[in-house]
Structures are given as structure tokens and as C-alpha cells.
Symmetry: C2
Subunit: 166 residues, 2 copies
Amino acid sequence: MAEGSVGGETLLFLTDEQLRKGIEAMFFAYRGFTADPDRILERMDYGRAHHRALHFIHRSPGTTVNNLLSILGVTKQSLNRVLRSLIDDGLVESRVGRKDRRERHLFLTEKGAELERELSDAQRARMRAAYRAAGPAAVQGFRTVLEAMMDPEMRRHYQSMKESGS
Amino acid sequence: MAEGSVGGETLLFLTDEQLRKGIEAMFFAYRGFTADPDRILERMDYGRAHHRALHFIHRSPGTTVNNLLSILGVTKQSLNRVLRSLIDDGLVESRVGRKDRRERHLFLTEKGAELERELSDAQRARMRAAYRAAGPAAVQGFRTVLEAMMDPEMRRHYQSMKESGS
DNA sequence: ATTTTATGTCAGCCTTGTTGACTTTCCAAG
DNA sequence: CTTGGAAAGTCAACAAGGCTGACATAAAAT
């Protein structure tokens, strides 16, 4: 396969062809990764941007707009458009900060939590199936490579909740 | 960690929390995955869609528009717009099919191959660094999980060139 | 009192998806 | 041979969701 042994250590032959396969794997897999939520979102009048907002508000209830901006890596105008519709539709609640009243703290309403659940159930189902099919060792490797692929700032966001639920 | 042993077999505890980490890993890693090519594309007046077209024409020289459509999963109108600019700019050559003159066979010109190389060099550099950091076993697992996550049709496209260069 | 920070909003632009309508080409059934 | 349908490509128009720039407001910090 793609490995060889030298002095007891296993090495990878990182040919361009090997790397190209990794690149295409990312491309095709990401399509699958978003496919199920996308189908649900289409029924409402929402898009992937709404899903991302719901996801991270769910993950960190009470997060501020600014914090969300740095996680999502978009402009405030872009996020605001999405947030506006979610708030107007009663899926997200925006509360003025008590300590710093310039800040807005974001929470899912019951209705928002419901949609978030539906979306992440669909996404988790696929992830669970892939994990089961691949096995525990593969899952470990999957997470390790993905983490190594992140930009440092994104890795911080990722790790900041690393083992919070395990 | 996230594993346990029962009768010599290792099992995964697929808690929602574990799965959520996988989901976020995909999200953050994909951002890193596209970041370097995106920076290059910005300098030209191209976007990610152009990169994808160049990539798959490079991979399969002479491919038809229809074949490209099924790989990329967009409408022909959407692809056509991108293809048009690449052809007009002299990066892609479109040859009328000899057997079926409705078909167009696509090839990279020297100029197109050059840009493709620059883009994939950048993307491969990050992939190579991640592979090196994670190690061979992790790489194997990475590819296995990603493949399990694909839609069946995409998996076919992926596997169709599986070991062509290894 | 002034400046900085956090947020929101308006306007306008670009990329890249979409659908619908149309042409050209090919092929096959009559 | 003709005709009708399927396949490939093109043009036009629209929408989502990125972007920048400008500006308003409120609150915190200096």
C-alpha cells in the first residue's frame, strides 16, 4: 500500500497522487456531509448559513455576536442578515448583556432548538454510519488529520470544547 | 478516551457529543482545506468553482461537459458560466467530439495547467503537512471515514481512479 | 469629554447556485 | 427519408450568501 518500513518506523510515501486522493476525498465527503441538512433546510426557506448559526448557538448558548463572527469567519453584515431572519422567525433570542450592555447574547428558543435538533440528527446519522463502517481506529485517525489541517485560529475554536462531553 | 474493550473488540461510544466533535472537525478543517487556493484565486478573478473545474479536467483530460456535471453536482448552466470564462481566458480548450459532435471534450491549455499546478501545490502542501503531523495510521483512517461519508454516486467517482497513481 | 468597542443597518457588488426557454445535433422509429 | 425526441450547450433572469463601505447608536474605557 502507501506505507513502508525503515528501522521499525512506518513512513508514508506522500506522492502527489496520494495527496490528490486525499483532496478529492475531502471534496466528495464534504458534499455528503452537508447533503442531509441541506435537504431539510430547503423545505424551510433557510440555507447552510442558518444551519451554522443554529449549530454554534446551540453549542455555546449565550455566545455573543462577536464570538460567533470569529468562529464562522464571515462579516457582521453577512451574519446579521442570517441572524435577523432567525430572530424574526422566533428561532433565536437576542438578549442585551447584563455586564456589558453593548453585547447581545444569543440563545435558541424552543422552536430554534427543535430545528437544530432535526438538522443535527440528520447530520449525526450519517457521521455515525461512517464511524461504524470505518471502525474506532479509523475515527481516531480521521479526527487527527482533520485537526492538523485546520488553521491555528480555527483549531483553537475546535479545541476549546474538546472533551467537554466525553 | 472514546473507546472501550469488550471481549477483545474495541468499541466506540458514539455519543452525540463525540459525533458533534466530528461534525465540527469537518467544518473547521474544510475551511483550512480551501483557504490556500482561495487566496490564490482571489488574485485572479476566479472562485472556487473555477478551481474545481480545473482540478477535474486535469484529472481526466478530454472529459465531457456532461461527465463533469455529474462529478461536480451542479447544473449545466452553472458549470457553463465557469467554463466559458476559463475558455475565453485561454485556460481550457473545448474540442467538439469526433464521434458525437454534440459533445465537448475539455483539456487544459499550458496556461491552464500552470494555474492548476499552482492551486494544487498550495492545497497539497497543507495536506502533506497534515499527513506528516498525523502519521500513516491516521491517514488511513482519515481516508476510510471520508469514503464512508460519501453518497454512493460520489463514492463511485472517487473510487473510479482509486489507486491509479500509487 | 473623548475615544474605542460592539452591534446594527443601508446600499451595492460578486460568485455561484437555481429555473426556464431556446438552438443545434444526433439518433431512431415510422 | 422524415420527423420527433433526447442530449448538449447557450442565454436570460433570479436568489442566497459572501463581500466592502458608510453611518448610527449605545456603552465602556481612557
